[in-house]
C-alpha cells in the first residue's frame, strides 16, 4: 500500500536523462537521417527505384488478349527493348530473354495463377509478382553474360525448379542472330 504524493512536498518530475545517453540519442537520429538521405538520393535522384503501381489485369484473360498474350522480347528502339513475362506454376514465359549488351530493357511481369517472385541475379531487378497486377522495372544490361531470373516466392511444389535466363550477348552476335 503506497501513499499518493502529498501536496506539502511536491516531487519534481523529470526525464533524468544521462548526458551520455542524450548524446547517443542525438547521434542515433543523425545517423538515421544520413542513411535515409543516402537512400532517398539513390532512389529519387539517381534512379535506383523500386517498382510502383503499373496497372491491373485479369489473370484469367492475360494470355488471350493484351501484351501478355505474346510474351517475349520486343525491340522498340536501337538500344531499347521491352519484354512481357508471364509467370505460372512452374515456369516463366519466356524462359529465355536475349538482349544485346547495353540494352535498356523494360520488364513487365504478371502471374496467371498464384504469387511468384522475379529476381534477376546480380542485378537490382527484384519484383513481387501478384496476379491481377503488373510488375515493372527498367534495367540496362551493361555486362555480357548469363543472368538467371529465379522465382523467389513460394508458389507450390515445383517452386524450386522455376527459373529463366537473361542472355546478354555482344551487339554483333545479337545482330547476326537477327533477333
Amino acid at each position: 500500500m503506497t501513499a499518493p504524493p502529498t501536496d506539502a512536498q511536491p516531487q519534481k518530475e523529470s526525464m533524468g536523462i544521462d548526458p551520455y545517453e542524450r548524446n547517443w540519442m542525438r547521434f542515433s537520429i543523425v545517423l538515421l537521417v544520413v542513411f535515409l538521405t543516402a537512400v532517398t538520393v539513390a532512389g529519387f535522384a539517381m534512379g535506383f527505384q523500386v517498382p510502383g503501381e503499373e496497372g491491373r489485369v485479369d489473370p484469367a484473360t492475360i494470355t488471350e488478349a493484351g501484351p501478355f498474350a505474346n510474351p517475349g522480347v520486343r525491340q522498340i528502339a536501337p538500344s531499347e527493348f521491352e519484354v512481357y513475362v508471364v509467370s505460372r506454376t512452374f515456369n516463366f514465359d519466356p524462359a529465355e530473354i536475349v538482349v544485346p549488351q547495353g540494352a535498356t530493357v523494360t520488364i513487365y511481369v504478371t502471374s496467371q495463377d498464384v504469387q511468384h517472385g522475379f529476381k534477376i541475379t546480380d542485378t537490382n531487378v527484384n519484383m513481387q509478382v501478384v496476379p491481377g497486377q503488373v510488375s515493372k522495372l527498367t534495367y540496362t544490361f551493361d555486362r555480357v553474360g548469363e543472368f538467371p531470373y529465379l522465382c523467389t516466392e513460394y508458389c507450390g511444389i515445383g517452386h524450386a525448379a522455376m527459373f529463366g535466363t537473361v542472355k546478354v550477348v555482344p551487339p554483333s552476335e545479337f545482330e547476326e542472330a537477327g533477333a
Partner: protein, 53 residues
C-alpha cells in the same frame, strides 16, 4: 531525510555513486562502426548493380 532531486546522471535513489556509462559508449561505438560497415557495403552493392527505374 530530504534529498533535493537533481539531474545528476545515474544517481542512486539513496544518494549513491554517480555512474558514467563509459563502457557502454565503447560497446556502442563498436556497434555503430559495424552498422556503418555492413549497411554501407550493401548500399555499395546497390549502386554497383545498376540503375532500375
Amino acid at each position: 531525510m530530504d534529498e533535493p532531486v537533481t539531474e545528476t546522471p545515474g544517481a542512486d535513489a539513496d544518494g549513491g555513486e554517480h555512474f558514467k556509462p563509459t563502457g557502454t559508449l565503447f560497446v556502442l561505438a563498436i556497434f555503430v562502426a559495424t552498422i556503418i560497415l555492413l549497411w554501407g557495403s550493401v548500399y555499395v552493392i546497390l549502386l554497383s548493380r545498376g540503375v532500375t527505374s
